[in-house]
Each structure stands twice: as structure tokens, then as C-alpha cells.
Amino acid sequence: MTGVKVRPYHAAVWSEPLIHELGRSGERGVILPEVEEGVRKRVGKPESLVPKRMRRRERPGLPELSQPQALRHWLRLSQMTLGMETDIDLGVGTCTMKYSPKVNEELAAMIAGVHPDQPEETMQGLLEVAWRFANVYLREISGMDAFTFQPPGGSAGAFNNAAIMRKYHEQNGELGQRDEIITTIFSHPCDAACPATAGFKVVTLYPDEETGVPSVEALKAAVSKRTAGIFVTNPEDTGIFNGRIDEWTKIVHEAGGLCAYDQANLNAVMGVTRAREAGFDMSFFNLHKTFSSPHGSSGPGSGAVGVTDELGEYLPVPVIVRRGEGYHLDYDRPKSIGRVRDFLGNLQVVVRAYAWAAAMGADGLREAAEVSMINNQYLSKRMAEVPGVTKPYGGRRLDQARWSLEKLKAETGCGINDVNRRVVDYGVQSFFTSHHPWVVPEPFTPEPCETYSKADIDYWVAVLKRVCEEAYEDPEVLKKAPHNSSIHAVDAAPLDDPDRWAMSWRAYRRKMKK
């Protein structure tokens, strides 16, 4: 790593006012389509079309801006956002911050003007893309048999699968009895929260100190006649692959439960290991992670779900099916869970995913997986040069690893939150730490997916190393960070104080007496 020089950086500082502080009464950003005289004459004044008590009396308190001023404001806000494309975003692990090919934006935009209730014959192309992505690509990659794109995010995919689990046990007359699902603490929080929202009790297994995953014995002790099923991420958020996962699914099946896989992040195992062989009944796949659709500042995404033939009849309606040469929306599915979202889900995301997978092909997908995995081995090796960093649990990790700054904290007083405020001073996105609880103390979870070059990884490690060295040299530099960001250290106290938090301009103005 010798020769990697950390370059100076400063974020954009626009000190941009709030939108409500901009513009002047009477300004306008856009003119609406004309209402023709013939229309106006015939129907009369618009207010006559609304019952008196339903008319808006006071105009909404929206700002008034001309178009260039409005555009300038939003552009400045975008400039004060460190997008994935402008930095080395590998610190946001579990999220697979991979490159989203630009050409796919153009292809996704082709469906912008399509209404989801158009006659099927006018959207055969779109249905074909979705059907092919499901039944050619996802089918082969996962080994699952039937698919839906209705869940519009990963967690929605988990909820969809909890609803399927619920319906399955209801159909078998066992729902009253089977009210527990089992998950692991290093599975994504949605694997606990979504089944809980669906009405299940949640049992959480904790890892074995040595292997980093819960033991088979722990699972055996947890299953019973009350077990509705399991929801597990694998590799877990620690990057550790549970190698006995097929034993797990066998144990749960023998107890009468179903097995739901969280493969939101499939990136390092595409073409390497599949949900089918691990014995799962259903799985979800985040198309905004593994399959390259951009993350959109947190959505729209897609939590595509695949299930085995046995569970196909439970999928939400409609299901895209092929009959002969044509594609159809099948609503006639009496055992379906109904809907988890209106219409067909985020099909613009599916178009991007299809385009990406089609470009890659079998070898490209495997290459993406291999390079992601090798990148992580390389990052792990480089990490040894960073003072204060440790890796709990032994063994190699697949796509990412959960690291700890416990040592740094003990020796310098600076923990992950301090490091996170400081790395942004070098133009590096603040790290994803870990969801709570922090079983690994002072955690962070870099995921150097295939997007990142060897030089990128070297640079990223050099930044982290520099920051950790600073912690040993002068902890105040971290404590007072950021220094080169768009803003300075935030006052977090109002965020939990009902008298001071303000989720809108109206609330802010009232509380600040502005």
C-alpha cells in the first residue's frame, strides 16, 4: 500500500436556505396546461364544482419560486449529497453499492408513460421483460420456481413471505398453533420486524462465539409445534456463510415449518450456491442491490420473491404468466395472499435488472460474484495495516465482514461514530455501522463489491488508516469532525425532544417562533 496518498477534499458548502425561505410572492416555476374556453364556458367556475364546505379556504403555505431559482436550490442540495457514483462507496456494506449502468436508465425510462391497467396486448414487451427476468434469470440463479415483483423493497419482500407463511398455515388449519418464527441476530432486522408485523412472535438466535453463526443445537432447541418457520439471511450481515444451512431447513421442515431466505444481498454467491439446494421454500432478492438498479436515496427498489412450486399458488396477484406466445396477468388464484402493494411493483427497477443480467450473462454474473468475494479477501488483508481495527469470529468472509473499532475506542476514546464523522472529510461516504443491537461493539461493515478496483480499495483503506492514526495522534480532530463537510457537528439532542424536534417548516416555525 505504499505510495497511496490521501488527497485533500472539501464538500460543497452552499449554506443553502430552506426552500420556504426562498422566492417571492407571485413567482412561479411552471405553467399548467391550458383550460380551453369551451371547457370553462360549459362547466362554469371551478369552485362551483366543489361543495362549499369542501373548498379550500386558505391557500397552502407553499413557497413561490421561478424555475431557475427552484432548479438552483435542488441542484445545490444534490451537490451536497455524496452519491455512490462520485465516491468510493464501499463502506456502505450489506447494501451492495454497485455501479448502475447508465444505459439502463434510458431503457427504464421507456416505460415511464405506461399505465399499469393498460390492456395486456399493449404492454407485451414489458410483461415479457419481467417474465424473462423472473423465469429465465432468477429461476436459474436461485433454483426457485415461481416469482413476483410486487414487493417494492427488500423488507416488503420479507413481509410478503411472512404473509405467504401465514396463509400456508391458515390453509392447513395450523395458524392458531404455529405463531412463532425464528431468526438470527445477524439477519437483517426486517427478518424480525416483518414477521412481527404479520402477527408472529419472534425468537432470535445468537451466534456461537467461535463460528459466528448460531449452532444447529440452538436451532433444534428453538423449534417446536409452534414454529411457523424461519427467516434467515445467509451469508449473514457479518459476511459469514452458515455452512449448515441445509441442516437448518431440514430441522424446520421436520417440525412442520417453512423456510424463508433473505437473499437481499446475493452478490458474492450468484452462480455459486442457491436457495434451492439449501432447502428453502422462498427467498427474496433486492434488485436494487445485487441486480444493479440504483438505490434512489432509499428507493424505489424491488424485493423480488421466488418460491417453490408448492407455494406458487400463494403468490400475490396478479402473477405474470406466459401462455403460448403471449404474456398475461393471472388474477384467478384463490389461495393467493392478495396484495402487498398496488399494481405490479416497481417494474422500472425490473427493466434495469433485466438489462444488467442480460448484459452480464452466466459468466459475467459469476465474474461479478467472484470479484466481489476476492475484493473482500483483499480488503481483509489490507485491513491488517489499520491500527485499532479487529475482526470478531474467525475464518474467511464472503462479500463483506463486520469489523470492530472496540480497540480504537479503548485506546483513543474514538469509536465508530467519531471515525464516521471524520472519513467524510476525505470525500469517503460514512460507513454503514450495523443495525442494532451492536453485538459486535463499535461495528462497521465494508462491502467492496465488483464495482471497486484494487486502487479504490487501497485508497479507501488508506483513508481509514489515516483517520485511525489521527485518533491515536490527536483524538480531538475526530471528536470535532467533520471539518471539510457541508456542515459541522450536528446537535442531536432535539431529535428526541418533542419540544424541539421539527419534521416540517410549519412545526419549525411554530417552535422557533419564527
Binding site: 391557500r59 424555475q67 401465514r166 442457491r274 479477501q377 432535539p494
Partner: protein, 467 residues
């Protein structure tokens, strides 16, 4: 055969680099590394059976565009489809900001690196709050149905009650989403969904039936403005008074593009407001443009029940500098897992930012004008179409959409829509199966994008088909 050209999306696919990396980590091959982490019996043997790759961008564009190019859009055809996803005018600036690399590709960064994203999220909350007359909102969720599902569960937790009353004329698809949030009756904490009758003449709630169903187990009354079938519910204040009298919460679902002309739900007693963001500058994208929002008064007990990420403005160590952060974050599933308020995840933040841009471009007068244009054009269409023999626009008081009934013409919408399609028109959504009591009706949607000539053309073609 593996390509010798490096994959343009994978820098380390250069064979020499890959080999160098393997050397660095002391492995001979990727297979060797995988075998050290995944047991042999779980390894997928061989190569995925997939169509050949299309590595060239040009070829890929041709391939996908050839498939999608077969489709028709509501730009090419004249469309009267709505019912939960609507064809509205999208200002070019909305597209410009939606395509900004930073917003498009950001995700989970913090508020130091992503200040602009946090401020944009907060401004979405601020602007939608102005429209609905509330003080709290959060990042948008998936769609109106999910927002309503969350709102109903919030009301159930707030009241400790287990029943929700919804209008019989609610969208069946939206009701299905809400029902999935409410759980089957066998489950602890299940919320029973009861449908309140609607008046077939006006499309609004049957107050007598509501009275009968309201009880000490009612967690909330949920109604919509405008409703799925377009009717404006003008007795919102009475409904709210009845609900509050029974100790229930009032949840109102709205289409925010109506709120430049329609009273905000806060005026007639709403406790929680939800609705659909898509009309505010987001393309339909075959239904992919949806985003739901939730809003309420700024009371701690409401804030405590939100599942969404709530962005709050705050200060920094520098006087006068705005900072942002997440309020009462401990509620969320990211912190509390199964003990959280429902769940939060990757939802529709970008659509929220687009909607904020839209609201800032229109301002109060633009919102009034777009509402007026929709009212005038849709009423023009209802009147014009009702001149046709055997055709009747149902519900006199509506916004944007109305059931267009053709019982008097003795034809079915199934056939009529096929004939319209041949003439380049997407007729309204056939709702004869969703609501048989409304006969042969199609939910017909007219927005500001329709010209008088479009509507006249539709009327002429429909008349010709029915003749």
C-alpha cells in the same frame, strides 16, 4: 468461452489484476476460496444455464428497446385510465432532479456526507404538510395502500382497539394491501376490517351504516378524499365528529393533487392523513411511480407510532447553520427489530424528492390551478359523455374520476374498451367486476393533460361504438 475483454462494470476483471489479487490473498483460484467458506454439497456445480451475454451497450440497447418498443404508452394512445396511478403533467425539472447522479445513487450515508439528501427529504415533509395541513410527515413509504395500512395500525396501537371501518367503495387492491397489514383473525393483535356501505347515487359514505358499525372496538374510521371512484366526501366533519365521539381516530386518505382546491383533511377533523405521492411529478412507469405518505399533528403520541423515518431539522455547533437528523429513531425496525413500530426499509425516497421539486415549482397558485383544471376538464368530460344515449356519469360531486355507466346502451365495457383500443384510446378501467352494483361502469379519469379536443374525440368515438 470467457471473454478476454474486461467487463466494463468490473475493473478487477482484468485477468492480470484478478491473478494479482488472488496472489495477494494466498489463493490459487476463486473456487478454492469458495470451497473454504461453503461446503461442497451446497456449491452449485457447473455454469448457469442462461442466454448468451450482451456485453456491448449498443447491442443491449437494441435488444431491450426492441422488446419494450412494442408497447404503447399513454403518450401515444389517448388514455382515460386512473384508479390509483394517474397520467399527470411532469415538469422537465422533476426529471432533471430525478436523474441527478447524487440523488439517484445515494443510499444509506449519514447527514454529513448526504446533507442535501436529508434536507430534500425534510423539505418533502414540509411541503406535503402544507398541503394536508399537518405538522409531521416522514419519508414516503411504498404506496397509498401501505401508507393506509401503517396508519390503521398506528390508530389501533393508539386506541388499543381492533377494528377499522373502511368505505365499501375503496379500491379492492388497496383494501387487499390494508388487509394484509391487519392480519387474519386467528392472530393475536389482528385488526378486523369492516366495510361501511356507500351511497350508490353519490359515492359517499352511508352515514346511517357508519353509525351502526361504530363501536367501542373501532380503532379508526378510514375514508378517502376523493375516493377510489372519484367522489368527494363532503361530510368529513360529521364523520370525524361521530368517530371521535366513539373514541376512534380519523384516518383520511387523499390524492394530494386535489389539495389546491379541496379542503385539507385537517379542516374536517383528520388525525392521521395518508395518500399517494405519484400525481406530484412522478411518472406512472406501469405503476412503479407510486409512493405513499403519512402525516399527522405534532403530538408525541402520534410521532411515537410512526414506522417511517422522520427527518427533523436541528442546529449544528455553528450558530445559524441547519442540520438534520432522524427523530425518535429508536421506534424504527433498524433499532428495535420485532419490537419496532411495524417496519421500515428501502421505500421511495427518490419519489418524495421528485414530489418536493414538483410542489416547489407549482407553489400555492399552481396547485390551485392544476386542481381547477382537473375539476373543469373532468366535469366537462362527464357532461359531454353523458350526452350520449345510454351513457351516464355517476356521482355528481367528484374530482378527476367518475364511473361512466353504459347500462342504457346495452353493451359491456369489455367489448367497448376493445373497440376503443382499435381507435387508439384506452377507455376507463372496467369496474363491473369490482362493483357489480354499479352495472357496466368504467372508472374514467380526466386530468390536466387532456385537451378539450381529446375529450371530444373520446366522446365521438364512444358514441360511434355504442351506436
Amino acid at each position: 468461452m470467457k471473454s478476454r475483454v474486461a467487463n466494463p462494470y468490473i475493473p478487477n476483471s482484468v485477468p492480470e489484476v484478478k491473478a494479482e489479487m488472488l496472489r495477494e490473498v494466498g489463493a490459487a483460484s476463486a473456487d478454492e476460496l469458495y470451497a473454504s467458506m461453503i461446503p461442497d454439497r451446497l456449491l452449485f456445480k457447473g455454469r448457469l444455464d442462461l442466454p448468451g451475454s450482451i456485453p456491448s451497450e449498443h447491442d443491449l440497447r437494441r435488444h431491450v428497446a426492441a422488446i419494450l418498443g412494442r408497447d404503447k404508452t399513454c403518450g401515444e394512445f389517448l388514455s382515460f385510465l386512473g384508479g390509483g396511478c394517474w397520467n399527470h403533467f411532469v415538469p422537465r425539472v422533476c426529471d432533471e432532479i430525478a436523474g441527478r447522479s447524487e440523488f439517484l445513487t445515494a443510499y444509506a450515508g449519514g447527514y454529513y456526507s448526504d446533507l442535501g439528501r436529508f434536507q430534500a427529504n425534510w423539505e418533502f415533509q414540509s411541503l406535503i404538510c402544507e398541503l394536508v395541513g399537518m405538522e409531521v410527515s416522514g419519508l414516503p413509504t411504498y404506496d397509498w395502500g401501505s401508507a393506509a395500512g401503517n396508519a390503521v395500525r398506528m390508530a389501533s396501537r393508539l386506541t388499543g382497539r381492533r377494528e377499522v371501518l373502511v368505505p365499501a367503495y375503496m379500491s379492492p387492491a388497496r383494501l387487499s394491501v390494508v388487509s394484509n397489514f391487519c392480519n387474519p383473525t386467528e392472530m393475536p393483535g389482528a385488526i378486523k376490517v369492516q366495510r361501511v356501505a356507500c351511497d350508490p347515487e353519490t359515492g359517499t359514505l352511508d352515514i346511517e351504516d357508519l353509525k351502526k358499525r361504530l363501536g367501542h372496538e373501532t380503532a379508526c374510521v378510514y375514508f378517502e378524499n376523493p375516493g377510489y371512484l372519484g367522489a368527494i366526501e363532503d361530510r368529513g366533519d360529521e364523520i370525524a365528529e361521530m368517530a371521535h365521539g366513539a373514541g376512534a381516530e380519523v384516518v383520511v386518505g387523499v390524492d394530494p393533487i386535489s389539495l389546491g382546491v379541496l379542503a385539507p383533511p385537517s379542516d374536517y377533523g383528520a388525525d392521521i392523513v395518508c395518500g399517494e405521492v405519484q400525481p406530484l411529478g412522478v411518472h406512472m412507469s406501469a405503476g412503479g411511480g407510486l409512493a405513499g405518505f403519512i402525516a399527522s399533528r405534532d403530538e408525541e403520541r402520534y410521532v411515537a407510532e410512526y414506522p417511517l423515518r422522520l427527518i427533523s431539522v436541528t442546529g449544528t455547533v455553528v450558530e445559524g447553520e441547519y442540520g438534520f437528523g432522524q427523530a425518535k429513531y429508536g421506534r424504527t425496525s433498524y433499532m428495535a427489530r420485532e419490537k419496532a413500530k411495524d417496519w421500515v426499509g428501502t421505500t421511495t425516497a427518490l419519489h418524495g424528492i421528485i414530489a418536493a421539486v414538483y410542489m416547489s415549482l407549482l407553489g400555492p397558485e399552481g396547485m390551485r390551478e392544476v386542481g381547477e383544471a382537473i375539476l373543469q376538464k373532468s366535469h366537462y368530460a362527464a357532461g359531454r359523455l353523458s350526452e350520449i344515449d345510454g351513457v351516464e356519469a355517476r356521482f355528481p360531486v367528484f374530482f378527476k374520476e367518475f364511473p361512466l355507466n353504459i347500462d342504457g346502451a346495452g353493451k359491456t365495457w369489455r367489448r367497448v374498451n376493445k373497440a376503443l383500443l382499435r381507435r387508439g384510446i384506452f377507455g376507463g378501467k372496467d369496474i363491473s367486476r369490482e362493483f357489480p352494483e354499479l352495472g357496466q361502469s368504467a372508472l374514467t379519469c380526466v386530468t390536466e393533460v387532456h385537451s378539450q379536443a381529446d375529450i371530444d374525440r373520446f366522446a365521438a368515438e364512444l358514441e360511434a361504438i355504442l351506436r
